[in-house]
């Protein structure tokens, strides 16, 4: 195998998987004659056939269509929650790392507080407090994820702050915003992207876990988590539902993980993210 390919295997395979899933989500509505809602009770739990490429679910709805729509929704929820977490976390991390002192101390205590909650409990509590629904789910997940980014960005910022040209810029009196944006942010982006890509997988699994406990998006929204939750109830007699949705989640997460790993080799070769997670207090 050519060197470049074998080294970047993770990256390419991951990218391939992710692209396939996205394509599946985007193109399916044009390929499939069914819609997400039409029930067909006599044909429940059908195995794949020419009429139903992925079979049917517990209401006889076409699984291919529902899984495609589910891909769109699950990925959207994951991307939104990670995006919010990244933005919030990065901002806070930059501020904490740059200004140091009391600001840093205070912010890190807030981070500690959030980290003290078991993630599922925090998400559950937030959803229970805000009510069910996609938006609240996204908010809950963001609240759980942001701390990771804050810590990494803060650590990188702390390190960067002391570097010569940054110190020089500060000495001249350049505005903090400028310094943050131009000098520090570019160094932060690499590790953050890696973490974010890996975080997408975690978000998808988190959503399915919350749906399993009954705290996910409202039906009949076909998120993979809901389908898997239903499938688990029927596991003994009709395993297909569970197999399909479980596999879908697993493959997608695998894709994001592989992609993230490949990215890590490119964007964060020194393992800053990993090392920082270790050392951050």
């Amino acid at each position: 195998m050519p060197k470049a390919l074998s080294e970047n295997l993770s990256l390419y395979v991951g990218a391939a998987i992710v692209t396939t899933i996205v394509a599946f989500a985007v193109l399916s509505p044009f390929l499939s004659p069914y819609d997400v809602e039409t029930m067909d009770m006599p044909n429940r739990f059908a195995w794949p056939s020419p009429e139903h490429w992925l079979g049917t679910d517990n209401f006889g709805r076409d699984l291919w269509t529902r899984m495609a729509e589910g891909a769109r929704i699950s990925v959207l929820i994951a991307v939104s929650s990670v995006a919010i977490a990244v933005v919030v976390g990065t901002l806070i991390g930059l501020i904490a790392g740059y200004f140091g002192g009391w600001t840093d101390l205070l912010i890190m205590r807030v981070v500690d507080i959030f980290l003290g909650f078991p993630p599922i409990i925090l998400a559950l509590a937030i959803i229970a407090a805000l009510g069910p629904g996609a938006l609240n789910l996204i908010l809950a997940l963001s609240a759980v994820f942001w701390t990771e980014y804050a810590r990494v960005v803060r650590a990188v910022t702390l390190a960067q702050r002391e570097i010569d040209y940054v110190a020089a810029a500060r000495a001249i009196g350049a505005s903090p915003v400028r310094i943050l944006l131009i000098e520090i942010l570019p160094n932060v982006i690499g590790p953050v992207i890696v973490l974010a890509t890996l975080g997408l997988g975690t978000a998808i699994i988190a959503e399915s876990g919350l749906s399993f406990l009954g705290f996910g998006v409202q039906p009949p929204t076909p998120t993979w988590g809901w389908t898997l939750a239903y499938g688990t109830r029927y596991l003994r007699t009709e395993p297909w539902l569970s197999i399909v949705s479980g596999l879908a989640i697993m493959i997608t997460v695998l894709g994001f993980n592989l992609f993230g790993d490949g990215l890590r080799d490119k964007l964060d070769p020194r393992g800053v993210a990993r090392r920082v997670r270790r050392n951050a207090t």
Binding site: M39, F59, P132, G214, F215, T232, R233, E238
Partner: protein
């Protein structure tokens, strides 16, 4: 040498002590879906507590499998006047702590349950009692404010020892009753262990122990039973497991009609459901058959009216609306709903017909039923949405009348009064849908006070007719009761899940 001898002796003693007990103990393990909250029979509130307390305590009567009152602590009773009941108690009954059970304890039990400070959930079942008197140590006299026919079926309330409670005993965690079993150990959230009470008046039970093991997830509980870790499991179970277990030949099983219903609660005070014709139209869009046989896999029975088949008041002639999409369409059109803007949703006066169907998140079958109902409504032009929240959020909103259509259930319907009085009388404490009908009020009051059974039957059937017309409730199914057990157990299935027959 001295050392060796001592060592040998010590080893021998150690071996003797460590040796396993002789014959293996017969301990029955029952899988429960929730842990008991409290083991005080007056404040009990969950099915596990009912069942555990049934073994720990005795009531004046015991309800048999046909829900008829049989003598228990009371050997006989009489009803000399419509508002007076006199119970004669059995002699020689002892509590687990050795003290005697007398009329005083009965008086104490009922007086405290009627006391609002105790916060007993079932207080409203006993409020017609105006006074309880210990005529002599073995006779209790109850006086009522008005004739109250269902009284006898509520007389299985466990009697508590007044001295123990007054002396500071906490029944909730350290129960003391006069029942055949007593509490050996309670690992909160995981296991309740009972052991036989040697001085039980009916003779000590034959089993060596009875355990209630908490496994919340229905599927896991069924799997544990099949793996041999549990000897009895019962409703609630998931339909798929029920089907599979029913088909199995080498286990003991009983499947029967239960004393619960799954139903739709219409909020009659919320637009557009204020008009009975509207409620009937919506009811006609609910495909009971598919829900019961598809989602619930036939373990429940399709309901025809508010009266249960297991009840003496039942009549097959009373019938609520059945699944009839064409009829529904016609009815809605008659009410002025049409799709004037072509978006697939019916509208009237510029407003879309939108309805929210809600239920709680703990029961996957109810979630599926609601999803199904939503799809059916949507197909027929109703802009239906689903709302699912966990019970502590869902139930208060129903109690406050904030719902439109809510799917829930009732249990323990041992008497028609239990299902209808508090729920349908104007302003009744459980009338969440704000239903009001003067005729129904009169009929339900009659049903409660008449003593002659045929008078009660007439009253309840008349009320049921009106309810089938006006549809404040649309009963989807009569819940079945299933119990699966180790074939070596000699269990007499009881529709409320009581386990007294198993211990002898």
């Amino acid at each position: 040498m001295k050392i060796n001898v001592n060592f040998a002796a010590a080893a021998a003693i150690a071996m003797a002590v460590m040796a396993p007990a002789g014959a293996s103990a017969e301990v029955i393990t029952l899988g429960a879906d929730v842990d008991a909250g409290t083991l005080d029979p007056r404040t009990q509130r969950d099915t596990t507590a009912y069942r555990v307390n049934n073994l720990l305590y005795d009531g004046l009567v015991n309800l048999d499998a046909g829900l008829n009152a049989q003598p228990n602590l009371a050997v006989s009773w009489e009803n000399p006047e419509p508002t007076v009941w006199i119970f004669k108690l059995r002699e020689g009954v002892k509590f687990h702590d050795g003290s005697d059970l007398t009329a005083e304890d009965v008086v104490y039990t009922f007086e405290t349950i009627l006391d609002p400070e105790l916060g007993a959930r079932f207080r409203s079942l006993y409020t017609p009692i105006s006074s309880i008197e210990a005529v002599d140590p073995l006779t209790v006299k109850f006086e009522l404010t008005e004739p109250y026919a269902p009284l006898l079926s509520y007389m299985d309330l466990g009697i508590v020892p007044s001295d123990y409670v007054e002396g500071g005993g906490d029944l909730a965690t350290a129960p003391v009753g006069s029942g055949p079993m007593k509490l050996a150990n309670w690992a909160r959230g995981s296991k309740i262990e009972l052991e036989p009470f040697a001085d039980y008046w009916g003779g000590a039970p034959a089993v060596d122990g009875f355990e209630f093991v908490v496994v919340a997830d229905n599927t896991s509980r069924a799997q544990a039973f099949e793996a041999g870790d549990l000897s009895i499991i019962q409703s609630p179970l998931s339909p798929q497991d029920i089907q599979r277990l029913e088909a199995s030949d080498d286990i003991g099983k009983a499947v029967m009609g239960g004393v619960g219903i799954t139903y739709i609660n219409f909020n009659t005070a919320a637009e557009p459901l204020t008009d009975p014709a509207m409620r009937r139209a919506i009811a006609m869009l609910i495909d009971q058959d598919t829900i019961v046989n598809g989602i619930y896999e036939g373990v429940d029975e399709v309901a025809t009216s508010i009266l249960l088949p297991s009840s003496w008041a039942y009549s097959a002639d009373i019938s609520q609306p059945t699944y009839d999409p064409e009829g529904a369409k016609a009815a809605l059109a008659e009410l002025g709903w049409s799709d004037s803007d072509g978006d697939g949703i019916l509208d009237k006066d510029g407003e879309d017909l939108s309805i929210e169907v809600s239920t709680h998140s703990e029961d996957p079958n109810r979630i599926q039923a609601v999803e199904f109902i939503q799809a059916m409504l949507k197909q027929n032009g109703v802009d239906a949405t689903v709302s699912i929240a966990d019970w502590p959020a869902f139930f208060p909103s129903v109690q406050d009348g904030q719902h439109q259509i809510a799917l829930l259930g009732w249990l323990n319907i041992v008497d028609p009064d239990r299902l209808m009085f508090a729920q349908f009388t104007t302003g009744g404490p459980q009338n969440y849908g704000s239903y009001s009908n003067d005729d129904v009020d009169t009929l339900l009051a009659e049903g409660r006070s008449a003593i002659a059974t045929d008078e009660r039957i007439a009253a309840y059937q008349a009320a049921a007719e009106i309810i089938s017309e006006e549809v404040p409730y649309y009963v989807i199914s009569y819940q079945g009761y299933q119990v699966f057990y180790d074939p070596e157990l000699d269990l007499e299935p009881d529709v409320r899940g009581m386990m007294r027959s198993a211990i002898d």
